[in-house]
């Protein structure tokens, strides 16, 4: 049980971190969108966010976690 809690905590932390670093923070306008193999960063962000929501849904039944 303890390991499960730690695993869930780690997953949530990574998802929260990716949400912040890809979608929050100071925005620089009129500049470059990084692209790799014709998949630009905005699309990469959307994919990661969809994954985040799905994983969060799976985690909903877990106990309260206070950890980063």
């Amino acid at each position: 049980m303890h390991d499960n809690v730690i695993d869930r905590s780690r997953d949530i932390t990574i998802l929260e971190l990716l949400d912040r670093v890809l979608n929050k923070g100071v925005i620089l306008t009129g500049d470059i969108v990084i692209s790799v193999a014709d998949v630009d960063l905005v699309y990469l962000g959307v994919k990661l966010m969809l994954s985040s929501v799905e994983t969060m849904e799976q985690l909903k039944s877990g106990k309260s976690i206070i950890e980063k």
């Binding site: 971190l17 912040r20 670093v21 306008t29 470059i32 790799v36 909903k60 039944s61 309260s64």
Partner: protein, 251 residues
């Protein structure tokens, strides 16, 4: 060759401390970090080749790690991943053009950290409980609906009324939880941003900016909230750099 920007810092009287810190750190793909300044504001940056950059999860995490480390030593505004400019000169000009906004935002987050709070529910169970309440309300209002003579219309109106009551009860319930949360956290002088009903199971998604010294009190307050709402699942994360509290776009 372009320049990746990680964060905007208030260095003030500690430029040598930043210099020493950056000497022991690397940016994404192992790149050297350096600083570009205008007056009291500094941008931490690294050279990068757009063609060689792999914009994947691990790179995003490397980027975040730089911001995380810097945030332990300096007041900063994190840049969104992918903030790239063409030259050092362009970045210095950007700092100059946006100096006032950057200063104001740095002042707002001084000695503060961000925390995230998500509240999940078992949506089926919660909706079943609210449906029971809704049924009780509908019994008291039956006479109004019964005035409609056409049975097909009555069925349709009844169905719509039930859905509407259920939605109202859900919103009222979520608002009551938010009121409890803000009531608990307002005494910690937090600045908050709260979204409700993000998904059927994520009923609250909030971020809070509060003084570093109040971290333990926040954890305690969220523990109290969890005890008060045992049917919900409170998840608190942090402390984070203030990603959600930088309210401007640099030009």
């Amino acid at each position: 060759m372009e320049i990746m920007i990680y964060a905007l810092l208030s260095v003030k009287k500690k430029p040598e401390r930043l210099h020493a810190l950056l000497a022991g750190m690397n940016g994404i793909a192992g790149a050297d970090l350096h600083q570009l300044s205008f007056d009291e504001i500094t941008a931490v940056v690294s050279n990068m080749s757009r063609a060689s950059l792999i914009a994947d999860k691990s790179t995003a995490m490397e980027y975040a790690a730089v911001i995380e480390t810097l945030s332990k030593h300096f007041i900063l505004l994190p840049m969104r991943f992918g903030s790239v400019m063409e030259s050092n000169e362009a970045i210095i000009h950007m700092l100059e053009r946006n100096y006032h906004d950057i200063q104001q935002n740095l002042l707002k987050v001084e000695r503060k950290f961000e925390f995230g709070l998500k509240v999940f529910c078992d949506s089926e169970k919660l909706m079943a409980e609210l449906r029971e309440k809704s049924e009780a309300v509908s019994k008291t209002q039956r006479t109004t609906v019964a005035e409609i003579k056409n049975s097909a219309s009555r069925i349709w109106v009844n169905k719509k009324l039930k859905e509407h009551r259920l939605e109202e009860l859900l919103v009222t319930y979520v608002d009551s939880v938010i009121a409890e949360i803000t009531g608990q956290l307002d005494r910690l002088k937090t600045i908050s941003k709260i979204k409700k009903m993000v998904t059927p199971t994520t009923i609250i998604d909030g971020v809070f900016l509060l003084d570093k010294a109040l971290k333990d009190e926040l954890i305690h307050a969220v523990g109290d909230l969890q005890n008060k709402f045992p049917g919900l699942n409170f998840i608190l994360t942090g402390p984070w750099p203030p990603y959600n509290f930088v309210d401007f776009t640099v030009k």
